[in-house]
């Protein structure tokens, strides 16, 4: 069972990750590169401002590798969720799980922390990461309670879990970056679309690969 789950997550994540990496290459990466020109100009007199650690093909490879790792993670999380709650794993159901996961890690978090280009004004990283993780977990648990539990008190707690993180939004940074607003707006929208695609691809492919790796079983687990 463990081997099948890991194999399905790995296979689905690699294929989904490569597709998302290709999508990033034509959507978000050109905006990041454009923003770095403004970031470099902003820090022209700052000697500590280093050039990006990776350039050209190495940079594309490193980005793609990280994206594949995230997509394997997404596929494993979705498979674990479905198996844990006793769902039959199918591409359609996995896509729905992926959509809910995107609502938790993409839509809910972007209310308090809009996706940012490099060079945007920012506050303390640890505090933002903590809020992001807490909000994603709380929204995910809230959606599960709301959609999968029948008792009214459970649904009420679910709704509260979805709303609660938004009373604790991180303090926004003073708007002082030199990245043009048009670039930043396009990036925020692209970044959310790319994240949505990652969850859905990872889910659909996890469902498909799961069928392959369990085709020899009499009863699907």
């Amino acid at each position: 069972m463990i081997a099948r789950l890991l194999a399905a997550g790995l296979g689905a994540g690699v294929v989904a990750g490569l597709a998302v990496a290709a999508l990033q290459h034509v959507t978000t990466t050109p905006l990041i590169l454009a923003a770095e020109v403004y970031e470099a100009a902003q820090h022209a007199h700052d000697a500590a401002q280093a050039a990006p650690a990776f350039e050209g093909l190495r940079r594309t490879a490193a980005t793609s590798f990280a994206t594949v790792a995230v997509c394997i993670g997404y596929a494993l999380i979705l498979l674990a969720g479905m198996v844990f709650s006793g769902d039959a794993v199918s591409p359609r159901r996995a896509a729905l799980w992926g959509a809910c996961a995107f609502a938790a890690t993409g839509l809910a978090t972007s209310l308090g922390l809009a996706p940012q280009l490099p060079g945007a004004a920012e506050t303390d990283l640890a505090g933002r990461q903590l809020w992001w993780l807490a909000t994603a977990a709380s929204t995910g648990a809230g959606l599960y309670a709301l959609l999968r539990l029948e008792a009214m008190p459970a649904k009420a707690i679910g709704a509260a879990l979805i709303v609660a993180p938004h009373f604790f939004w991180p303090t926004p940074a003073a708007p002082e970056s030199t990245v043009p607003a048009e670039l930043a707006a396009r990036f925020a929208a692209s970044s959310l679309a790319v994240q949505a695609a990652s969850w859905i691809f990872a889910g659909v492919l996890a469902g498909l690969v799961w069928r392959l790796v369990t085709s020899d079983m009499q009863e699907p687990a």
Binding site: M1, I2, T28, F54, L79, A80, Q116, P118, Q129, S190
Partner: protein
Amino acid sequence: MNNAATVRALSASRIETLKAAFVALVIGLGLVYGAGFANSEGVHDAAHDSRHALSFPCH
């Protein structure tokens, strides 16, 4: 057919399933945390563009 034995076998396989789901969840969260959140400079530099592109908090 011994019902008690069937129930035991079922719950044993359910426990096996839950264990597998837990392992998959831990590995999945570990991968997302490593690529999206880990503070190590090397990991940050390699995953930088992907972190921004997938809306993870960065910098």
